[in-house]
Symmetry: C2
Subunit: 490 residues, 2 copies
């Protein structure tokens, strides 16, 4: 099929009035929506990039992004930052016979508005699941080093004296919740009792429950920019309007958040090890964020996805432990310390919210599988967990050294990679002006997964980079992948 | 704390105008809401029962129930049919100092409107999870007969050659999806390919995803009356307005649905074995339901939760297999054939909806645990599943006979229990005029769980009854529980 030509801004016949009553992004949203509904923009028509359109219209790129986001959330637009934005095919040109036939079949236009919004925010993780990880896919722990035989033995032992195999407690298996509460108090500086712990199916479900319980459609949420796409999906699926707030060397720039959306209902942050940039939020920013939340009556969602792996100092205490006002929802996961296919994580929620989260969890899917929770409780209780995390921290530190060394050897002058003080990935910066999405595509063609940093950003980045996960791969595989990457970029 | 006195209808100062422009339930809703907002009804005040209030106001009970449901969904009221309805504590009397202090703490009033709605529809299952099942709690399979050693052996075998332990495919582990597609085609008469199968964490997640993808807030949904509380929770959490449609000997009365809400967006049905009444939907009703769905562009959610256990004939073909128009979302579960703590079920969705359901699942919690899916795929593939279901069918048939015999012996003239042709529970009818909630409370005090049928109904039932699950309990336990029940009712 021939790719239809991109709609030139002139063809869109958009006139924005800077003196107008409604904000510019809203004017743009309305103009585009009307063009789609009236058939001037047919289904499938590619739109110019937000950058180009912003230039043509003389507005900030953020204005265009906000309008596009809203239209995507309502199902008028589809596509991704990478593939480009186009008019949704489910809004075919009215009046044509083909359009009517299309409409009589269920499909995207049989979805609710919410369903269309959810379909439009599909996470990029969708396309990759199920395949064996290869360098440098991020977020994957060292599965080769997981003590399978031990886990299998603990599972068999548990089956000889199983927990209740009927419906379990909505908040999770009690001994596991107690073990988690102890762990986050001692290891993460959290303040909580076991009753505040809700075991969930990985951090994604924690984010989803927080969004459903605490947000209404159109509520504004501060989102780290660049930031974690899984959080973006969960928040947008709940109908939230995301306000991108930049991240600098001290983490989320709280002052920018206050300026952009002082009345937001929530802030999403990854303070221990920001995803994807890797910075740690400074203490003064943390206090400032908590102060804003208390003043605004807003919630802070703290995603603490890989803080266990810290290489310079002891892991930093979490934000939740500094919160005196019950504003923080803490999200933890076992996907990084154990393995993602286990699908177990946890929330620490303020005491007054426990019942609401339990109700939401019950309506969503009742509870997490009991046997795996029981085996994990044994794994922690018998001391295997602490031992495994310590061991992996050592292994990951060595693997990072291997990666950095290989980059310095083969990619000096192209990739600027510095040791990450924590986590399982690093950002390797590209020379200024080099397009990271193009580089990522060339790497992929050579068999190397290296996501472009700009894939995690809504706004344009000052400098592109590659996200390189090292934790899941053995030294030889890391070296081999660096060679392939170097060849691809030469 | 002293329990505040129930607000007498006179004190509510409600005047309804049958000639008024807005419907009676809306008038009642407005009057109650204003009383709450203006502080005439303080937080925590118990309201009269819907039956009593309906009598006092001279309106149908359904009118009162609709108004209460709406107020509960919006967070003004809280409580359950059993414990009674009261004004939510999070709407304290304005003007009092206590009220302001209350408001400055987060809690129910820090929730979003959606969060309050979710908190107000907490399923009764919440309070029971985690405890060992006892007679006659329904929905629990014969856990004593589950082949634990075999399952444990298959698990160990799998750990020696594990599937991918990283992130898996959003739709589920491919061999399991293939096994499910084969099973529902051969065993349930479904029409589908493996690509339409989405493995979920039990049927509750299937219902939740369907509600989120296909419904917008305020969309109307036909709900079986009486019906399954888990479905009600999922639908109301998505903001749906439930239209109770009666069930007779042929299943959901489609004509009543057409009369009550012809433009509803969805119908929820359990056609193989209606929950809780146990009737099977007739073929003509099925065709009629599908015809309505095609005409109205509505979706039919088919909950096929325990159809594997059919004692008179072969299991009936499912509604999904009769659907020529891609209107049916089929929900299946392994909670009844395997065990609830496994948390595995599946959806069969029309091909055009697959991507939207995948996106919703990814945003919700990515995917179900891979190892348990792989072991289940082995369990099915090695023929254990078919054997286990056959064996349990025989055991359940015997257990039902024991229960019926014991009831005839000890409770003749009190309970009218007839053999159920399918499933794992039956309805034992009480003499007309006897209050089933009172009977259920007396049974519970004697250590016997026997839910009142009216707990599953919004409208008043013509005749009360008890829901007696037999499948999960050994003959002696069933006989003992019947004796206890007989003593309690004497």
């Amino acid at each position: 099929m021939r790719r239809p030509r991109s709609a030139a801004p002139a063809a869109l016949l958009i006139r924005l009035d800077p003196e107008g009553e409604s904000p510019l992004y809203r004017q743009l949203y309305t103009a585009l929506r009307d063009s789609i509904l009236e058939g001037r923009l047919a289904g499938g028509t590619p739109l110019p990039s937000s950058r180009l359109l912003a230039g043509e219209l003389g507005v900030s790129r953020n204005t265009v992004v906000l309008a596009f986001d809203q239209l995507a959330a309502e199902g008028y637009l589809e596509g991704t930052a990478r593939s480009g934005t186009r008019v949704a095919r489910s809004f075919p040109c009215p009046g044509s016979a083909g359009a009517r036939t299309e409409r009589s079949r269920p499909g995207l236009d049989g979805l609710s508005a919410r369903g269309r919004a959810i379909a439009s925010v599909a996470s990029p993780a969708l396309s990759r699941g199920g395949s064996a990880p290869r360098p440098f896919r991020a977020g994957v722990p060292g599965l080769d080093e997981f003590p399978r035989a031990l886990w299998s033995r603990l599972t068999s032992r548990r089956w000889r004296r199983p927990p209740v195999l009927g419906y379990g407690d909505v908040s999770g298996y009690t001994p596991l919740r107690q073990a988690i509460a102890e762990y986050v108090r001692a290891g993460r500086g959290a303040r909580c009792v076991a009753n505040q712990v809700i075991v969930v199916n990985g951090s994604q479900q924690g984010l989803d429950l927080a969004a459903r319980v605490l947000l209404d459609p159109d509520d504004r949420v501060w989102m780290e920019e660049p930031g974690y796409p899984g959080a973006r999906s969960a928040l947008m699926a709940a109908g939230a309007r995301l306000v991108p707030v930049p991240v600098d060397a001290e983490g989320l720039v709280v002052d920018r958040g206050r300026a952009l959306a002082p009345g937001a209902r929530m802030a999403y942050v990854s303070p221990s090890h920001q995803f994807p940039l890797g910075v740690t939020m400074s203490a003064s920013r943390r206090l400032d964020l908590l102060r804003w939340a208390a003043e605004a009556g807003a919630w802070v969602v703290e995603d603490d996805y890989d803080s266990e792996f810290r290489y310079d100092t002891r892991p930093l205490a979490c934000l939740q432990g500094m919160d005196e006002e019950d504003r923080v929802i803490y999200v933890g996961t076992f996907s990084k310390t154990m393995f993602p296919a286990l699908r177990l994580g946890y929330l620490i929620v303020p005491e007054p919210l426990v019942d609401a989260f339990r109700a939401a969890r019950a309506a969503a899917d009742r509870h997490s599988p009991t046997m795996e929770q029981a085996v994990l409780a044994d794994f922690i209780g018998d001391g295997h967990y602490a031992r495994h995390v310590r061991r992996m921290r050592r292994i990951y530190s060595e693997r990072q050294d291997v990666l950095i060394e290989a980059i310095r050897k083969h990619l000096a002058g192209v990739l600027d990679a510095r040791l990450s003080a924590a986590g399982m990935h690093l950002v390797a910066w590209l020379p200024e002006g080099m397009d990271d999405e193009a580089v990522s595509a060339r790497a992929l063609a050579a068999g190397v997964e290296a996501s472009a940093l700009s894939r995690y950003a809504v706004d344009r980045l000052n400098r592109g980079g590659l996200l390189l996960g090292w934790a899941g791969y053995q030294p030889d595989d890391l070296r081999g992948a660096v060679s392939l990457l170097a060849a691809a970029l030469r």
